[in-house]
Amino acid sequence: MKVLRIIPERCTGCMRCELACSYVQTGTFQPARSVIRVAPFEAHTSYAPYTCPQCAEGWCMTACPVGAITISPVGAKIVLDDQCVGCKLCTIACPYGTIFYNPETQKAFKCDLCGGAPACAEACPTSAIEYVEAETGDWLGVFAATRAARHHEMQVAGAEVG
């Protein structure tokens, strides 16, 4: 299936993906409702977007007591609004922290790959988000570990100089 592949080295932290995502998902520009979230690394000198990996287990889907989460034709785990009662079990079952709860609608919400045309990938000006045929993966782990180690070394060096 096609997945969102993140290439963190290309991310500039412009947040366009968050704006595009929230606009397509909710009809308004509100990054707080975006299901892709840009995380800062190395004391805000580098950034990377993070979103649902559409995992094989589908922890949110199997946890749902009323079968309100299913798999869409493009392979995304999606919330069926008319079935979701807002019990939040999915938000605690998902070990990636990528399914959310909207207190206004009292429903869970998550990345549905925009039905096969992800707005985040389209909006990204540097192609840091690609929608491609691939195995899902941990796109950020190595990047984040390296940036953190580098930041830590600089702090240590800074402390020695200072």
């Binding site: 995380a39 299913t70 079952a93 922290g97 570990a145």
Partner: protein, 438 residues
């Protein structure tokens, strides 16, 4: 002849077992379900009480759905006894059903506090659909509802009671709210929050009797003033439904003792959900969790093994989440392990509190409180669960989380936890959605 699987109990564990059997065999075997009630989800009963959903929404398997899964259902019947030597189950109407293998998933029942008057009219439990109907009929706008017990079950119906514009008083025998879900500090925060939302609370209160008082109920306590209630809801605990196994060869400790295949002491008898004493993922010790996610995973693993797989289960992660008046309260894993190294931090201005529990550099449990509309809270609930579930050593990130317990994300991402979690599935293969089993 086709293998005959008998499933006793139509709750979360039983239905998940059935769907899993069918996901493997596509209808080749014979599946018989014995269930005292029509299958429904207990988790969603509070939303029915609050009128957020219709009663029809609570059912998890309609007769048509069961027929589609090729399940022969004995609904309204209870299991009466089990003869494991003859591989035969007897129902309460005398029907005898022979099996090749059998799953015990009879769940648990609500227990009322043992005080005089507990069984009088106007005193309800909220556990089964039938009981929920009784409560739905009893609460009216302006009713004074006294909720006896301040545990998870009580808290799941709190929003619904307030949504019905009833006046609510919570009475708890323990010195704090949610004694089996959060620590004292968290409970104090929750108590303050609820008082602010108009809920009266009495902790450390021992109920001694419930009396009739001109159509209302008078609650008497060991100390302190009486309370007058229109409706009394007892959420004072549950007990597993195992009496019918008395005299059988199935070994019972706190629950039915099961191995990592969810098999009981009798090789072709499995147990799942509230009745099963299975492995706890974090402690590696046997435990009875009696929570929905454990019932779901138990049911699936048992179903897979009944369908002929050889599937070992790593164990269940204890977890609970409940929202009251837009405050999220969650805990998981060994959140109350007194031997763990605990780090707690509060941000009272945001009603945020959390506690992380460590063994070495592994996170083994967590507690989290925060506003439901605070993105931090929901984001971190999942990631903390992921860190406890993955159980990986966090190395230098432990120091980061000790200093910044509200900054989970970089630790989660940079520790490679996603890479550890992605290959993990309960059944060793991608999950199938409920509607796409057959």
């Amino acid at each position: 002849m086709a293998t005959r699987h008998v499933i006793v109990g139509g709750g979360t564990a039983g239905l998940n077992a059935i769907r899993t059997i069918r996901a493997y065999d596509r209808g080749e075997s014979e599946v018989i379900l014995v269930s005292a009630e029509r299958p429904y989800s207990r988790m969603v009963l509070p939303y029915y009480l609050g009128r957020g959903i219709a009663e029809s929404h609570v059912f998890t398997a309609t007769p048509a759905h069961l027929a589609q899964l090729q399940v022969q259902a004995h609904l309204g019947r209870r299991a009466a006894s089990l003869d494991t030597a003859a591989n035969c189950l007897t129902l309460d109407d005398g029907t005898r059903i022979e099996y090749d293998d059998l799953l015990i998933a009879t769940g648990s029942s609500a227990v009322k506090a043992p005080v005089p008057g507990a069984d009088s009219p106007g005193v309800h439990s909220f556990w089964t659909l039938e009981q929920a109907r009784g409560v739905v009929a009893a609460i009216r706008e302006g009713s004074h509802v006294v909720l006896v017990g301040a545990g998870f079950i009580a808290f799941t119906i709190l929003n619904a009671i307030l949504a019905l514009k009833a006046k609510l008083t919570i009475v708890e025998i323990a010195p704090q709210l949610l004694p089996r879900m959060i620590d004292r500090t968290g409970a104090e925060m929750v108590e303050k929050w609820l008082r602010r939302h108009g809920v009266a609370i009495r902790t450390g209160a021992t109920l001694t009797a419930i009396e009739e008082a001109e159509g209302r109920r008078r609650l008497r306590f060991r100390e302190g003033e009486d309370l007058l209630a229109d409706v009394v809801l007892m959420a004072t605990g549950i007990r597993t439904n195992l009496e019918w196994l008395n005299g059988s060869a199935v070994r019972v400790n706190r629950g039915i003792v099961v191995d990592d295949h969810l098999r009981s002491s009798v090789g072709n008898v499995y147990a799942a959900g509230d009745v099963a004493e299975g492995l706890d993922l974090v402690t590696g010790q046997p435990a009875v969790h009696a929570i929905e996610p454990t019932a779901m995973e138990h049911g699936r693993v048992a179903g897979a093994n009944m369908a002929g797989q050889d599937l070992a289960y790593r164990g269940s992660l204890l977890m609970n989440i409940v929202e009251v008046c837009h405050l999220d309260i969650a805990s998981f894993g060994a959140w109350d392990d007194p031997t763990a190294e605990a780090v707690a931090a509060a941000r009272p201005d945001r009603w945020a509190y959390r506690k992380l529990l460590w063994k070495g550099d592994r996170l083994i449990g967590a507690m989290i409180l925060g506003m439901a509309n605070d993105i931090w809270t929901t984001n971190d609930v999942g990631m903390l669960k992921g860190l406890v579930q993955a159980g990986n050593g966090l190395g230098a990130w432990k120091a980061h989380l000790r200093r910044h317990p509200f900054d989970i994300k970089p630790a989660f991402i940079a520790s490679g936890t996603t890479a550890r979690l992605l290959p993990e599935t309960i059944l060793g293969r991608p999950s199938v959605p409920v509607g796409q089993v057959m």
